[in-house]
């Protein structure tokens, strides 16, 4: 018996929304106590996607657990990678090369756009605007093309590593990025035209599920949802990380804190993200990139390296493109104890092989000093924080994730109280609940 079953009045109806409702974005159960169409009370039940993220991470090495962070907010995995990598870097005091920092900025802003696009696409579709959904998915495809070309994957990227990024950018990066920016701008303009003054959309979003700034703070809201209530708080501005303090952008704010403001803030934020990407891409070109020396085929290189160390690199498999030794100074920290040794060395020299083994061997690898650290980045949904306690070994003693949408969804019960059943859907849509992050 859940709370609502015990407390419900006898003359009301109890209705389950979810866990497998098409508008529930994954698995969440909302039990509604209804008087006709009006919601008297509700109870939100989460945990259907709980995979024991924290427990798993506590039993993996610092390097290996990166892949689990991809699966938190699976719409913007790069920001999760970034948050984790930067937490460890804060603990270790690692310096990241400037080029890698700009790559990280571009990648996290692209992820933010794809996150907002997905959220608004789903929200619009559930309110009946299917065209908007298709347009946004189209824009997201262009963004994911850039991500795919750079990281080699669309969702489970694991691209941002402790000490830098996994590989340097592709030669065609600028062209693909430019297309993505142009196409996304076009789509955003279309969406503004389709939704901003659309009566059906306005009726379902304007002044519905209004959040006051005081309550938003009391619920620990962060990100676009908090800013929609008019509170100026953005981790990128409050605690600047990477190169955000050198880039010009604004933090859009809402006025009323209703569903429409949450939509609008996200739309405006995408504009700002595009601005950041353009600036960062410009500055990225000025940072020194590694130039590839003449390279051998692997078999040749091994043969030649039997007697003496070869000059030049090794042609690596396409999977490892961009992570050649010559590229390392631009993309990874100079401190060798925190980054994987270049594959060129691992394949051709004894020392390289040994350092590779040493890096992955049990009890070795990345071992932050004893102590604890909290670090947060601005994720798609808000402040994405990691709290890590280290006991000096190669595994985190405790890893806790501050999931932004956990705090946001906690307010759902309050937001839909007294509204109609139909209001649940745009309200829930505007919150951007992501199961992987919420349930961990």
């Amino acid at each position: 018996m859940t709370r609502i079953q015990k407390e419900a009045r006898p003359d009301t109806m109890l209705l389950n929304m979810g866990p497998s409702h098409p508008a529930m974005h994954g698995t969440i159960r909302i039990m509604l106590e209804l008087d006709g169409e009006r919601i008297l009370n509700s109870e939100v039940e989460v945990g259907y996607l709980h995979r024991g993220f924290e427990k798993t991470c506590e039993n993996r090495t610092y390097f290996n657990l990166l892949i689990y962070t991809d699966r938190l907010n699976y719409v913007s995995p790069l920001i999760n990678n970034l948050g984790y990598a930067m937490t460890i870097e804060k603990m270790l005091g690692v310096e990241v090369p400037e080029r890698a920092q700009y790559i990280r900025v571009i990648m996290s802003e692209l992820s933010r756009i794809s996150d907002h696009l997905t959220c608004l696409a789903a929200m619009a579709m559930e309110s009946g605007a299917f065209t908007v959904f298709l347009y946004k998915m189209k824009a997201r495809e262009f963004i994911w093309d850039v991500i795919e070309q750079t990281t080699g994957a669309r969702m489970t990227t694991s691209y941002i590593r402790i000490g830098g990024v996994r590989a340097d950018l592709h030669a065609d990066f600028d062209t693909v990025l430019k297309t993505a920016i142009v196409e996304t701008r076009k789509v955003l303009k279309d969406i503004h035209g389709l939704l901003d003054k659309n009566k059906i959309f306005l009726n379902r979003t304007r002044d519905i599920a209004v959040m006051t700034p005081e309550d938003a703070l009391a619920f620990g809201w962060t990100g676009p949802c908090l800013r929609s209530t008019g509170v100026y708080y953005d981790v990128r501005k409050a605690h600047p990380y990477l190169t955000y303090d050198r880039l010009n952008f604004e933090v859009p704010l809402g006025e009323r804190g209703d569903n429409f403001d949450r939509y609008m803030v996200r739309m405006k934020e995408m504009d700002q993200s595009l601005r950041i990407i353009e600036q960062a891409a410009q500055r990225l070109q000025k940072t020194p990139a590694g130039v590839l020396a003449q390279a051998f085929e692997p078999a040749e290189a091994i043969k030649a390296s039997r007697l003496k160390r070869i000059k030049g690199g090794v042609n690596l498999s396409p999977n490892l493109e961009g992570s050649e030794r010559d590229k390392y100074p631009g993309i990874l920290s100079a401190d060798k104890s925190y980054v994987i040794p270049p594959k060129d060395d691992t394949y051709t020299t004894m020392e390289g092989l040994i350092s590779h083994f040493k890096f992955f061997m049990k009890g070795n690898g990345i071992r932050p000093p004893r102590g604890e650290v909290y670090f947060s980045v601005e994720g798609g949904n808000g402040e994405l924080g990691y709290y890590i306690v280290s006991d000096g070994s190669d595994r985190p003693f405790r890893l806790h994730l501050r999931a932004p949408c956990f705090h946001i969804v906690a307010a759902l019960e309050q937001l839909i109280r007294g509204r109609y059943v139909a209001d649940v859907i745009p309200t829930f849509g505007s919150m951007n609940m992501i199961g992987g992050e919420l349930d961990r």
């Binding site: 709370r3 989460v46 945990g47 709980h50 024991g52 924290e54 427990k55 798993t56 039993n59 804060k90 603990m91 309550d215 703070l217 009391a218 619920f219 620990g220 509170v231 708080y233 409050a238 605690h239 102590g371 604890e372 650290v373 909290y374 947060s376 402040e383 924080g385 709290y387 306690v389 003693f397 405790r398 806790h400 501050r402 956990f406 705090h407 906690a410 307010a411 309050q414 349930d439 961990r440």
Partner: protein
């Protein structure tokens, strides 16, 4: 300068509660006695400090140490743009601490999570029950003595 102020002020105002105050990697850390949590939180949430956000609330299990559990609170003050970490140790045989639900609304779910994962009892919580795991689940999975691969299917596996 400013961070020294808050920490010193806390030490002066709550000499019996605050055991240790320091700065760790840019964040203020206060180690307190659990009895004083609610009073300290009440002091911090109001003006002039305005730690109006409870950013995070979690627990760490130091198996083998005494006291075994450590509650960790992260507060954030918008006007000061500062984070504060509050830590309080709990004995294994007396796992209880005051609930913060009266001050911050998100403490409700956060405390349910810690109760679910560590079995900490929050005194004054209106509805303390499991949040991620199901009701018939036994034990607390994030404790260090809970085996990593232990399975507890809610419905029995089919033969």
């Amino acid at each position: 300068m400013e961070e020294k102020k808050t920490l010193d002020l806390l030490k002066q105002t709550f000499p019996a509660v605050v055991k240790e105050a320091s700065t760790n990697l840019g964040d203020d850390v206060v180690i307190i006695d659990r009895e004083g949590l609610l009073g300290l939180a009440n002091f911090l949430i109001n003006k002039p400090h305005e730690y109006t956000m409870l950013l995070d609330l979690t627990c760490v299990d130091f198996l083998g140490q005494k006291p075994r559990f450590e509650m960790v609170y992260h507060l954030f003050s918008l006007p000061q743009n500062k984070r504060l970490r509050i830590k309080a140790r709990l004995e294994e045989n007396d796992l209880r601490i005051a609930s913060l639900t009266s001050l911050w609304k998100n403490a409700d779910w956060l405390e349910r999570e810690v109760f679910d994962m560590f079995g900490v009892n929050f005194e004054g919580h209106p509805d303390l029950r499991r949040i991620f795991m199901y009701d018939c689940f036994e034990g607390h999975p994030l404790r260090k003595d809970y085996p990593l691969r232990k399975r507890q299917p809610c419905i029995k596996f089919r033969e």
